[in-house]
Symmetry: D2
Subunit: 209 residues, 4 copies
């Protein structure tokens, strides 16, 4: 049996739909992830470009917006398993240029910035509490990498009962096979995976909810 057909046979991939109120998260769109010599590559640059429209629409409509970045301590005191696997994450410190947001997706005042050291935007952060404070039950997800921090964030969102809506064209990965496979898996089990044009159309139609 081919992959998609066994999922269909077992009743996966139902549509969540948008809930009562959405927020948008931009995961790890930082300089280091836009540069193939550091952590970038693949289709990340096109994801950044698509995300610019999503961010613009979200701001116009007053949607609660947050951004994540990886920040390790200057002295490495909080490095752990991930840094054993991928030592270069240790360079992503507070003031290192690689760790700053790309200029076109720079947070503005009032947008919540999640500092994190792990893949998921929820792990060891205030993200769930922030969504609760905003009354959000739906989390629109853009970011990189699809198979890394995006996927981990989406899985945690689903576990915490925030409906994840993945903006497919706003997600990028250095590895295109992993990108495609993660979007497939996420759509089967955890999230609605749709294009940002449809998401923006929904937000415009609902007055930003």
């Amino acid at each position: 049996m081919r992959d998609a057909s066994i999922y269909a046979h077992q009743g996966f991939a139902n549509v969540l739909g948008f809930g009562r109120k959405s927020a948008i998260i931009f995961v790890d769109f930082t300089v280091g992830f836009s540069d193939p010599e550091i952590f970038g590559g693949g289709n990340i640059l096109s994801a950044i470009e698509a995300s610019e429209s999503l961010l613009k629409a979200g701001r116009e409509l007053g949607v609660p917006i947050c951004h994540t970045r990886i920040v390790y301590a200057d002295d490495g005191s909080d490095l752990g398993v991930v840094a054993m696997k991928v030592p270069k994450v240790a360079t992503l410190t507070e003031s290192h240029p690689s760790g700053n947001f790309v200029p076109s997706l720079m947070p503005v005042t009032g947008e919540y910035v999640v500092r994190k050291t792990q893949a998921s935007g929820f792990f060891g952060t205030g993200l769930a509490a922030w969504l609760t404070s905003r009354g959000a039950d739906t989390l629109i997800v853009a970011g990189c990498t699809t198979s890394g921090c995006v996927r981990a964030t989406v899985v945690d969102a689903a576990s915490a009962n925030f409906r994840p809506i993945v903006a497919a064209d706003c997600c990028g990965d250095r590895a295109l096979e992993s990108h495609a496979n993660s979007l497939f898996d996420l759509n089967q089990k955890y999230a609605d995976v749709i294009d940002s044009a449809k998401i923006i159309a929904h937000l415009r139609g609902s007055g930003g909810q």
Copy 2:
């Protein structure tokens, strides 16, 4: 650039190695996941067979062992986003046969059973606290599905700084492409992915540590 080569170029996939003390987790090896008509299929049956040897060795050597199963309330009061996406998970209740462990991997007295409603064995459970109480810093992972509950558990283990060692042949998935891709991703970013024979050899050589 092909997927593996960009990871190599950016310095991923270093080896974690075993830490000071290991525990083993068997993720969701329950009846429903062994049956292709429910949630099974693919290479899950062969993962069960390989896991029998790992469990036997772990027991002989006194390694702390835990097992996860999905348990939803009989009245559906704890159903959430995942059950919207995959409605059939609602059948996995306390006493439904689908939710019980497969006979060959049935927990015995003293082994910790994690009841969970989400993909990750860590989310909303006492798993991290149990590992801490056992002094474990390394988590050997077997189970199904590779791209679902295994992957989510491994990512959370890495985030919590327990070194994940994935027993490749003891993991199974209904979807073989997703299985292979998840093992690839996990090995690049979060875990050592090795065969159970090597894991058992390590445990024997270290007296079960």
Copy 3:
């Protein structure tokens, strides 16, 4: 400076008020906590009596309701630090009479039952996810003991940005000084502490929101 005055001087104890939508939690009103020979005593019986009215009103008005109980594994495989400090918690197993709810506050179908091993109803459970799935931003809290599981649950609710409203007369403790002091602390820092009559009046006035 007396305790209350320094808090006033520093600007503590502002009123949260009810949010958009409330849920009610009844913490650990089980047989063992109603019996002074086990874990009961103090004013717990009067808290149970007051809670009966709160539960009745909540049900009439369709407020989402949950109940917590402590459940340890029969084989003690999940005992930890709290059980070192208070060994008798090990008796609170699935089928032991001490661990069952008191008859007058027995959950009914559709009410969420949180199984927990720690003080807080949030720690290692699906409580936050359940509140999110219900769209609740406010958590009305009754239960025992005030200085133990109630307080821990309230602190976590505030941390997760669910507004805690403590029903003062529906909370009880084996130790009356600790009860009074915890209500004082909670009201200064984390919660509104008010009588259940006022809470019920609010719920009636808002149609159960």
Copy 4:
């Protein structure tokens, strides 16, 4: 029945003892909490003085050390329930003098600094993961306020199965009754509460374990 006697009758307050390896946490010893006009008062200054000796001993013996401070975003985007209850916490931003550590307990390179927005040092932070990475199973706790951030941190440590050892004289509170009552409660249910002299003696005797 008096408070202590009912606890004794029910078998509370057993001794945890030190485990295999300790870490030390200094909770919120920042300028704002040392000043009675901001968040200080009571016996916090004497707790700071006692903590200086504990920190010195910990450093000499190579004990893993961490420090917590409250840090809210400059734009208030992460304010939540606690800030509704205590609005002045909004002043504790990255660069505001109130939020910086007191000079005598300033972290040095290699000591882990936990940035937090909630009472507990564990909530929404990497503290548990850091303890795991250090192989610690015991958490020595100093800080302020005893009834606030110290207590919440201790309760979470116990829940996560890190043995909490509270350095009684190194904890302070603006409210002396709450201080005494919290030490009493913590010792009954969650932690060993002992003087720092005994803790330092243990660490010296065990070579910093």
